[in-house]
Structure formats: structure tokens, C-alpha cells
């Protein structure tokens, strides 16, 4: 019946399909749907840039306007992947430029972006509007200058936590006077000076500016002037805040803040005198998002006073200096909290006492809408996790990280299996899970049994045997990404169900028990997987023994075979 619908109707119906999974599903129904879908897809999401080639992407989706690409595997964030591994965006930009793609938006995560890429991007796509770079590297402020100079309709330039070489040039001054379209500008991760006068003029003429995140080089008196020009801001990030509460600047800032009644999201405060925080009290009542995770200078007392005013908070990122008591204040104040991230302020395992299970339990009791958690803590207990599971059954993302990776239950000294078991059993919508602490195969039995919606699982220093990994591979039907380090899983687990990996985006295993022989067997069996071994140092001379353990293995499904840009230290089996 549905085959008799003319294409125009299908087209119209598909225009309501916005999520990638929905579109992917629709494209599998029949050839006709596949075609309508592919011509109508404007936003393309590619979770692993090596799963497909740029040319094939363009030929399937000729009308792509917005492209999201992810490069390096997640564990690259933690120095587990050497430099020059790959993930270069240049070939994509070249292909799209050649294919005359009408690219408007590019969102990259963990990719290498050269100045050359940015220059090509800036000059090839006349309608380019939005560039979002997260945890990328390889470019300098020269590349940014190219974007600023050439992208006439630029709306969004959002740089999040990138490693950028700051050439202290005048990149910001490169925005022409005719540029008035900016709605979002985030350069908080840049280390160098910007032309403050140019910045003030830019803000003044971009009346649609909603989101502005400044770096440390923008001094407090400039901040005050900028805010005066942009009272319509919804999101503000300021790293350089006032120091002296008696100063003229402080007074001006206080006054101007009172007019910024639209601000809902606040971040920065890298350099602040806590006594100047009262200047932001007027906007606290409206805040829904607060990121103080880069503000080590705000002590617990001031932090608590601040949070006490933020009754509408939905997202909070802080340092563990807040302490369990501070989390108690969050729990009693922020009833609408949905996302909480508590980062470690001290990276040594035995350091200052940070937060413990008490803080988490308090939060779970006070914030029933909590659905996303990242919690670095000194210790944890099963009892606490069980309570948390009962209080908050809505977790979608649950990431717990004990500073000591194999610490047992702080009270019973037992493994934390039961605690995490309770979480997966209670949170039926759980999509992402990171476990830590002392864990046996039992926790994986629970995960395999209960975590039906789980898409991403991170494991470190956990499990006793291959059974652990098997429970997960067999049980979690929706698993997309599995990353494992320092756990005793070997070839038996790796090879038990090789077909499983084609249903997943990727698998990472480092410092586990898999051997060269095991990886080779897998690679032979599954031609549509790239099984890459990362070799560092001189452990590998010539042909490694099949029985030798592999230090780092990364495998992923792909339609285009082994990648051609693999460096010397990456072997594709």
C-alpha cells in the first residue's frame, strides 16, 4: 500500500524524521524509501570517520548540509593513543569542496584539524554558518582568522576544549564590519590575547548574539563593557573575573549583571576572587546551567552560598572541592537537577578528601530528575549505589569513577558488583555506563542481564575472566561502543561471537589478555572490520609472536577497508 504513495508525499513525511536512527531505519524499508530518504537527508552523523569514506558519504547524501564527524576513540582523551594516530578532517573537506556540497555546518569531535583544512573550509562553502570543534587539535589562530574573514554568514564559532596554538594574531579582528550574524562565539580554550576593542565592536553589532564564552585574556573591565552591549545573552562564559570587590569595575559589573536577565547558562571563573561572586547573585535565580569545573579558586563556603541561589539549576558541573556537605546543599536547593558532573580537583589517588558516596546519596534523594551523572569520588559503597538506584530510576548516563580504580566497598570491603547491578536493574533506560572500583565477573552478569538499552560501556581494571566480557557481548543487544582497559579478558571472549562487532561501532581493548594470534584470527574472519593494533616503542621487532599479548587494539566496522592514512605504529591486521 505504502508503495503507491508518490514520492512527494514520502518526502514530506520524511521531513519530519529528524533523528538519525529513525532515518536509518526508514532507509532500510525498501529501495524507494532508501532513495527518498537519502536525497532528503540534510544532517549526516558519522560516529567513526573511518567507517565510511567522504566520497561515498557525498554520493549517498548529495544534499548534505550539516556534517558531524568523530575521529579518535574515546580513550584518546586519556593519553592512551599516541600522536599522529589519525582522524584528519582534511580529506572530508576536500571531497565536499570538490563535490560542491552546500555545507552549512560542521561539527567535529576528537579530530585533527589543520589550518589548511580551515582555510579550505572557509573558502569553499559560501553558505557556511556553523563550526563546532570539540577536543580537536592541529590548528592555530591563523585557521580561525581564515574562518572569520571568509565566512560571511557565520552564525556559530564554538571551540570547546581544543588544543589550539595561539599565534597571538588578530584573528578576532578578521571578522569584517559587515559580519552581524554571529549568535554563538566561544573561544574560552584559547590561551592568547585577543583584540579587545575588536571584540567589543563585534559584540555590539551582532544583535543576535546569544552565547558568548571568553578566554582568560579578556580582562574584567572589558567583560563589563561587553555585557553592557549584550544584555540579551543567554549563555556566558568568563574566565577572568574581578578581583577587588571595592573596585569601580566590580560596581559596574554588578550593575550590568542585573540587566542580563536572559542569562541561563554560566561558565568559566578560572581566575576569580570569591568575594566578587555576589555580583552574579542577581542572575543565579534564572540559571539552568552552571559550569564551575574550571574554577578551583572558589572555596566550598562561597560555592555553597552561590548554589543556594540557583534553584532552577538543571545542569551543574563542579569540582570535588564542593565536598559531600556542598552536595547536600545542591540536593536541597536544585530540585530540578538533571545532570551532575563532579570532577577531581586533585589528580593523585590519595589526595585531599573529595567527595564520597554520601554526597551522591544526598543528591539522589534530593534530585529525583537526575538522569546524567559523572562522579569522581574517593570511595563508594554498594549500599549507596543501591539507594541511588532506588531514588533515581531515570539515569540515561551513569559514569562513576573511583580515584583508586580497584577500591572495594568502603564499608564492607566487598566488590561493588551489587551496587552497579542495582543501577542497571533499576535504570531501564540506561544508555551509557562507566564502572569502576573493585569488580568481579558478577557485575558483568548483571549488566548483560539488565542493561537492555545500553549503548556505551567503559570498563577499567575489572572482571576476573573471559566470562565477564562474554556476559556483556551476549546480553547487551544495543551495545555500540565497548572500551576496556587493564582487564583479564582474552581471546576466548574476543572470538566467541565475531559477528557481534558488525552490530557495534567499535571495540577498544588495551592491557588485556588478547594476543596477536587472536586478533589475526578475528581480522581474517571478519573482512568488514578493521582490526588495528597500536604499537609503541620497540616491543615489536619484525613479526610478533602470535602468543604475544597485544598492548592496544581498536577494532571497528567499516565499509571501506583498511585506512590508508594509518601511521607506522598502527598495524591493520
Amino acid at each position: 500500500m505504502i508503495n503507491y504513495f508518490p514520492e512527494e508525499v514520502l518526502w514530506h513525511v520524511f521531513s519530519f524524521l529528524t533523528s538519525h536512527p529513525d532515518r536509518n531505519a526508514a532507509s532500510l524499508v525498501c529501495k524507494s524509501w532508501y532513495n527518498v530518504e537519502r536525497f532528503s537527508r540534510g544532517k549526516v552523523f558519522i560516529g567513526n570517520c573511518y567507517a565510511i569514506s567522504p566520497e561515498r558519504m557525498i554520493s549517498r547524501f548529495p544534499r548534505v548540509r550539516s556534517l558531524t564527524l568523530k575521529g579518535k576513540p574515546h580513550f584518546a582523551d586519556f593519553n592512551l593513543i599516541p600522536q599522529d594516530w589519525g582522524g584528519n578532517v582534511y580529506p572530508w573537506i576536500v571531497a565536499m569542496a570538490k563535490g560542491s556540497t552546500n555545507l552549512e555546518e560542521l561539527r567535529l569531535k576528537r579530530m585533527v584539524v589543520s589550518d589548511e583544512s580551515l582555510e579550505l573550509l572557509a573558502k569553499s562553502f559560501p553558505n557556511f554558518k556553523s563550526l563546532v570543534l570539540v577536543s580537536c587539535e592541529g590548528f592555530t589562530t591563523d585557521g580561525l582568522a581564515a574562518i572569520a574573514s571568509n565566512c560571511r554568514f557565520l552564525r556559530e564559532l564554538d571551540l570547546q576544549e581544543n588544543e589550539v596554538e595561539d599565534r597571538r594574531g588578530q584573528w578576532l579582528s578578521c571578522f569584517p564590519d559587515s559580519c552581524t550574524s554571529l549568535s554563538s562565539l566561544n573561544f574560552a580554550c584559547l590561551k592568547g590575547e585577543v583584540n579587545v576593542a575588536a571584540l567589543e565592536r563585534l559584540v555590539a553589532r551582532c544583535r543576535n548574539l546569544r552565547s558568548l564564552r571568553l578566554n582568560h585574556a579578556v580582562p574584567p573591565d572589558a567583560l563589563q563593557k561587553i555585557l553592557a552591549q549584550a544584555p540579551q545573552l543567554v549563555d556566558l562564559g568568563a574566565d577572568s573575573f574581578v578581583h577587588d570587590p571595592e573596585s569601580e569595575t566590580y560596581n559596574k559589573l554588578k550593575n550590568v549583571m542585573q540587566k542580563c536577565s536572559s542569562i541561563r547558562s554560566l561558565s568559566g571563573f578560572l581566575d576569580v576572587n570569591a568575594r566578587c561572586l555576589p555580583s552574579i547573585y542577581p542572575i543565579c535565580i534564572n540559571l539552568t546551567s552552571l559550569n564551575l569545573s574550571y574554577a578551583p579558586g572558589i572555596y566550598s563556603k562561597e560555592l555553597v552560598k552561590l548554589i543556594h541561589k540557583c534553584k532552577k539549576l538543571q545542569r551543574l558541573w563542579i569540582l570535588d572541592t564542593i565536598g559531600d556537605k556542598g552536595l547536600g546543599v545542591v540536593a536541597s536547593t536544585c530540585k530540578e537537577l538533571q545532570e551532575l558532573r563532579v570532577f577531581p580537583s586533585d589528580l593523585h589517588v590519595v589526595g585531599n578528601v573529595a567527595v564520597t558516596e554520601e554526597g551522591l546519596v544526598a543528591i539522589s534523594a534530593g534530585c529525583p530528575n537526575l538522569n546524567s551523572l559523572l562522579y569522581f569520588c574517593q570511595q563508594m559503597t554498594n549500599a549507596a549505589l543501591i539507594t541511588v538506584a532506588k531514588n533515581c530510576p531515570n539515569f540515561i548516563r551513569f559514569r562513576l569513577c573511583t580515584l583508586n580504580p580497584t577500591i572495594p566497598d568502603a564499608v564492607t570491603m566487598q566488590p561493588l558488583d551489587e551496587g552497579f547491578g542495582a543501577i542497571v536493574q533499576s535504570c531501564k533506560g540506561l544508555k551509557r555506563l562507566s564502572v569502576s572500583g573493585l569488580l568481579t565477573d558478577q557485575v558483568f552478569l548483571y549488566i548483560g542481564m539488565y542493561a537492555e538499552q545500553l549503548e556505551m560501556l567503559s570498563i577499567a581494571f575489572a572482571g576476573d575472566s573471559d566470562k565477564g566480557m562474554l556476559y556483556v557481548l551476549n546480553g547487551c543487544k544495543k551495545l555500540k561502543k565497548l572500551e576496556i582497559r587493564d582487564s583479564p579478558f582474552g581471546n576466548m571472549a574476543l572470538l566467541a561471537d565475531t559477528g557481534k562487532y558488525e552490530t557495534m561501532r567499535s571495540l577498544w581493548m588495551s592491557s588485556c589478555g588478547v594476543t596477536f594470534g587472536g586478533c589475526k584470527t578475528l581480522a581474517e574472519k571478519m573482512p568488514r572490520l578493521n582490526v588495528e593494533i597500536i604499537n609503541e616503542g620497540d616491543e615489536m621487532e619484525g613479526r610478533p609472536d602470535d602468543r604475544q599479548k597485544v598492548e592496544k587494539m581498536y577494532l571497528y566496522r567499516t565499509l571501506v577497508g583498511p585506512r590508508k592514512d594509518a601511521p607506522d605504529f598502527v598495524w591493520t591486521l
Binding site: P296, L347, V350, P405, T406, P408, L438
Partner: protein
């Protein structure tokens, strides 16, 4: 022996931190007793639970500086930001100490001390004087001398009011004032 000293210190300790910060000492010792995992030991750590409780790995206290690669899993960007804040402080925090009437100043490294009691004791030794007991209400009332410091904003503050960490990061120089002059500083605001 060490314990006894600790107990004595506790009795006279200037409890300047937030209520409950006392727990930190207990918690640190729990953490110290847990078996630290190193990559090589993962495979043979079979029944980890029991051995962890008993092994009381004393060297973890000195191994506190030894870190597993990539643990805790914090993005490099975030680590570098934290690190740079720490780097400022790794190099020692020397501040000048002046004493009213003394011909020349001295310098002390605040990093060397774990808290106010140690710092005050060191100052007493250095200048051969006595400073006496701190109280929130009276300051160092009755003492011959009172310790004061200049903070980031240039104000002269009484030593002891704020948590030690906060003091460390805001203290620019120390000044040992005569008790008689210090009277004004001790008044509650």
C-alpha cells in the same frame, strides 16, 4: 609515638576548617590501606576483596605520586588547566615575614607546613617569640605578638580566620605585629 604527637596536636589544633573536615584524616588512612592496582597485577588479583583489606599497602603513601597512565580518566585539556594552577604552586610558596622592630626580614615556604599550628610554631622558633592561642573572638589576645598577613587585595588580615588552603593561596606576605598593635585586628567584624 607519631600517634601520640598527633593526638596532642589535635587537642590544641586550631580547628579552622569547615565542620567535618576532621573526617579527612580517617578517610585518607582507609584509602592508604587499599591495595593499589597496577597493570601487571590485574591478572593475578583473584580474590581481591580480602587481600585488599589486609594488605595495608604502606608504600601507597609515598606512591601517592605514582599514577597509572590515563587514570583517573580526565581529559588532557582539563588536566593541563588544573596542572597549570598546580605548577604555580609546585615551586614553593615563599613569602616574606617581617617582624616589628627586627632589622631584617625572613622568608618562609608556606608549602612546607600542613596547617596553622606548624606555621606558627615555625615562626615562634624563627623569631624567638611566643604567639599564643588563636580564638575567633579575641584573635591572639594576650599574646606578646600576633601574626598578620597581607592578602591579594592588599588588606592586612589576622592569620587564622580562613581555611588553611585559602590562606595559602591568598597570603602575599606575613607580618608579626606586637600584641598591643594587633588588638584592632582581633575584633569581630
Amino acid at each position: 609515638m607519631a600517634h601520640e604527637n598527633e593526638l596532642n596536636l589535635k587537642a590544641t589544633e586550631l580547628r579552622l576548617g569547615l565542620p567535618g573536615t576532621d573526617e579527612s584524616e580517617d578517610m585518607v588512612s582507609i584509602a592508604k590501606n587499599n591495595k593499589r592496582a597496577s597493570p601487571e597485577s590485574v591478572e593475578d588479583s583473584g580474590s581481591k576483596a580480602n587481600s585488599a583489606a589486609k594488605s595495608g599497602d604502606h608504600e601507597t603513601s609515598s606512591a601517592s605520586k605514582a599514577q597509572i597512565v590515563g587514570w583517573p580518566p580526565v581529559r588532557s585539556y582539563r588536566k593541563n588547566n588544573l596542572q597549570s594552577k598546580k605548577a604555580e604552586s609546585e615551586s614553593g610558596m615563599y613569602v616574606k615575614v617581617s617582624m616589628d622592630g627586627a632589622p631584617y626580614l625572613r622568608k618562609v615556604d608556606l608549602k612546607v607546613y600542613n596547617g596553622y599550628p606548624e606555621l606558627l610554631m615555625a615562626l615562634e622558633n624563627m623569631f624567638k617569640l611566643s604567639i599564643g592561642e588563636y580564638s575567633e573572638r579575641e584573635g591572639y589576645e594576650g599574646s606578646e605578638y600576633a601574626p598578620a598577613y597581607e592578602d591579594k587585595d592588599g588588606d592586612l588580615m589576622l592569620v587564622g580566620d580562613v581555611p588553611w588552603d585559602m590562606f595559602m593561596s591568598s597570603c602575599k606576605r606575613l607580618r608579626i605585629m606586637r600584641g598591643s598593635e594587633a588588638k584592632g585586628l582581633g575584633c569581630a567584624v
